[in-house]
């Protein structure tokens, strides 16, 4: 495994009686796209906030880039964050927003100009750069949120629910952006409660609920370990039959041999099923 870009060692954070993150440990390799999957309130955003130094863990440590706490501005400079809450200035143009945050990251002069152009191009907003943010659609604002996060070419990118409330077109555009970042070798931590996003984008996924890490592995391994069997549903004139099977094709042949089928459906295990099996409830509960 490549050297770690982010290490969380037994971090814990409580707000009064509520334990938001409970003894969470992770090690994310350089160049990895890592998914943190869990329902709302699972502790994903609190984990991101501790990773970027906004919150101090009650116990445990956060190490970024092999040696440094994010409470230090120098370490934070290695991180790019697209927060879940859109935190941009409505009365500035798209370009002014990106330029402003790039300056806070220490960019200036020609490099500032180049990186701002690259970031706006990257998210497909160059042509709308001079429009005020208040005129942008929700999806465009999410894309600008991403541009602000990547403008300084961070080593570690934290994307907290980056597709919440966006239209399918913008969602696809964001997926394309993340895949491009993956190709370029960026380390990405992607929090979501959409299992299809984690399944599509992430090499490894950590499943969290009530602040605890329930499982951590590649998507295939999680499914194979916690997803259970495929479910074959066949429909005949006399009714419907559901069968759990590890080999849906063989089971389908066996069912067909027993008599003619009107229709059939195979439900393969996915991360939703993994979460259901691990917690007893659905991701969107």
């Amino acid at each position: 495994m490549a050297p770690a870009m982010l290490t969380l060692n037994n971090i814990r954070k409580a707000f009064g009686e509520l334990v938001a993150v409970d003894d969470l440990s992770l090690e994310i390799a350089r160049g990895e796209v890592f998914g943190l999957l869990g329902p709302n309130g699972a502790g994903k955003t609190t984990t991101v906030n501790m990773t970027v130094g906004l919150l101090a863990p009650d116990s445990g440590t956060v190490v970024v880039g092999g040696g440094g706490s994010p409470t230090s501005p120098a370490v934070r400079a290695k991180i790019g964050v697209a927060p879940q809450a859109l935190a941009l200035y409505e009365e500035l143009t798209g370009e002014e927003n990106v330029v402003f945050f790039a300056k806070l990251q220490g960019l200036s002069g020609r490099r500032l100009t180049e990186r701002v152009r690259w970031a706006l191009d990257f998210v497909g907003l160059w042509d709308r750069r001079r429009d005020y943010l208040r005129t942008y659609s929700g999806g465009m604002k999410r894309r600008l949120n991403l541009a602000v996060a990547v403008v300084h070419n961070p080593q570690l990118l934290l994307l907290d629910e980056p597709t919440v409330g966006v239209d399918p077109q913008s969602r696809n555009a964001i997926f394309e952006n993340i895949l491009a970042l993956k190709e370029e070798g960026h380390t990405v931590v992607y929090t979501t409660h959409y299992m299809e996003e984690a399944q599509r984008l992430c090499q490894r996924v950590g499943v969290v609920d009530h602040g605890k890490l329930l499982a951590l592995d590649t998507v295939d391994n999680l499914i194979s370990d916690h997803g259970g069997k495929s479910v074959l549903t066949v429909e005949r004139e006399d009714g419907e039959t559901t069968v759990e099977t590890e080999d849906p094709l063989a089971e389908l042949n066996r069912q067909q041999a027993q008599g003619p089928l009107l229709r059939f459906r195979v439900d393969r295990p996915d991360l939703e099923r993994v979460f259901l099996n691990l917690t007893g409830r659905h991701l969107r509960d």
Partner: protein
């Protein structure tokens, strides 16, 4: 420092794009300065006195009444419009004129009898809603009436003619009591004799035309207290209105930037700023710098306008710069304190403006301190507004020395430091606190 400047520039951009905020911060103070300067322009000289619109009715129609009207027309205190009685009364009723002056029949005849049987009378009608001007107008008319009488008795030949007429009337009068009659019969010929000998003496000297220069008249002469007396006074109403108007700009900046910190917190941008590689101190320094730059620019702009358009010449530019900088420092601190007064934009705005309005009321930002009772002026010492106005006035017309400037400026800087420190200490970086 470049990051602090980037933060400040962002805030200035946001200010200039918020049209309502810009109005309250920049244009409302300007309106205040000009409006109140214009209203009080007659109080301090320099700005000129605007005359009271007055309808004048000549029912007498004699040369004396016409001369009186000509005198009134030349008077700066009133603007004369001649009319008949009905028109004049109607114009006052409608509020078109402040008052009407009617010269009734018999005015000219009475003026011709200054010693016996004459009493020139005027009728004065005043708009009931303008009672404050009634006394002033009565005084002005009395002044010009006596001026006319004096003109009458300044002509020796005319005066002797009037004396002769009066003497004949006294002799012919049978119902006058004997004592008064006897006194007049002694006094009037004696005066006639005095005037005759005076005319002869003047003619013998060859230095006059035999006219009598008149009895000595009481005079009220205006003294330029600003330069000669115990303390300076403003010579132009705008010298008073501009410092007061500037205060509203300072209050607007403090409220606007204080509320913008709350907005940054509630909208989440403050959290995003903290994710950037900058310290909390830099975030607040950026806001403070933007507020400071705006307050300085506002004051410089308004005082330049005051100089160019309204003739407000500061007695010391260096002292004014000192007042501007210290005032800005004070209100930057107040801005920081206001940002901790409310959790939401609405509560911060409401509480913030309530506090600022009390400061303005006590400190002379609404009503000049000199019209307040003494206990309220003393209470005003607790308001930074008072010290900001004092510092500005010290540089504009009070002719403060550097040592005299130190106290108000020191108070402002101290207020700024204390408020900023308390504000930073109490500041909530997240909505949760």
């Amino acid at each position: 420092m470049s990051k602090v400047i980037a933060l400040a520039i962002k805030d200035l951009r946001l200010l200039f794009r918020d049209k309502a905020g810009l109005f309250f911060t920049l244009f409302l103070p300007l309106i205040y300065c000009v409006f109140f300067g214009a209203i009080f322009s007659g109080m301090y000289g320099g700005g000129g006195v605007s005359g009271m619109d007055t309808a004048v009715v000549d029912e007498d129609g004699t040369p004396s009444s016409q001369l009186f009207i000509q005198t009134l027309e030349k008077a700066a205190e009133i603007n004369v419009q001649t009319a008949d009685r009905a028109q004049a009364l109607d114009s006052v009723r409608r509020g078109k004129n402040v008052a009407c002056v009617i010269i009734p029949k018999g005015y000219g005849a009475a003026m011709a009898k200054p010693f016996w049987g004459g009493s020139p009378t005027l009728e004065l009608g005043i708009d009931p809603s303008r009672r404050a001007e009634a006394g002033m107008l009565r005084g002005i008319l009395t002044q010009y009436l006596y001026l006319e009488i004096q003109k009458n008795i300044s002509d020796t030949a005319k005066l002797r003619e009037q004396l002769s007429g009066a003497l004949e009337e006294v002799r012919a009068s049978e119902d006058t009591d004997p004592v008064t009659r006897g006194a007049l019969m002694l006094f009037l010929p004696a005066l006639d004799g005095f005037l005759g000998s005076l005319a002869q003496a003047k003619d013998a000297d060859g230095d006059g035309d035999g006219s009598f220069a008149g009895f000595p008249r009481a005079k009220i002469e205006r003294i330029d207290i600003a330069r000669k007396s115990k303390g300076p006074l403003p010579t132009n109403a705008y010298q008073v209105s501009f410092p007061q108007g500037v205060i509203w700009g300072l209050l607007g900046c403090a409220a606007g930037f204080g509320i913008s910190l709350v907005v940054e917190r509630t909208h989440g941008t403050l959290v995003r700023l903290r994710m950037a590689p900058i310290s909390r101190a830099q975030v607040l320094a950026g806001k403070a710098l933007a507020c400071f730059a705006t307050t300085v620019a506002l004051q410089v702009g308004l005082f330049l306008l005051a100089r160019v358009a309204f003739g407000v010449q500061p007695t010391s530019v260096a002292m004014l710069a000192m007042a501007v900088i210290c005032g800005s420092l004070g209100f930057v601190g107040i801005m920081m304190l206001l940002s901790v007064l409310g959790k939401t934009e609405q509560s911060a705005g409401g509480i913030g403006w309530a506090v600022l309005l009390v400061m303005a009321m006590l400190g002379g930002g609404m009503v000049p301190l000199f019209v307040m009772p003494s206990w309220m002026r003393t209470l005003g010492n607790v308001s930074p507004v008072k010290w900001a106005i004092t510092a500005m006035e010290g540089a504009v017309w009070r002719e403060f020395t550097f040592a005299q400037m130190l106290f108000p400026c020191g108070v402002l800087v101290a207020v700024g430091v204390v408020c900023f420190t308390v504000g930073v200490w109490a500041f909530r970086w997240t909505e949760e606190g």
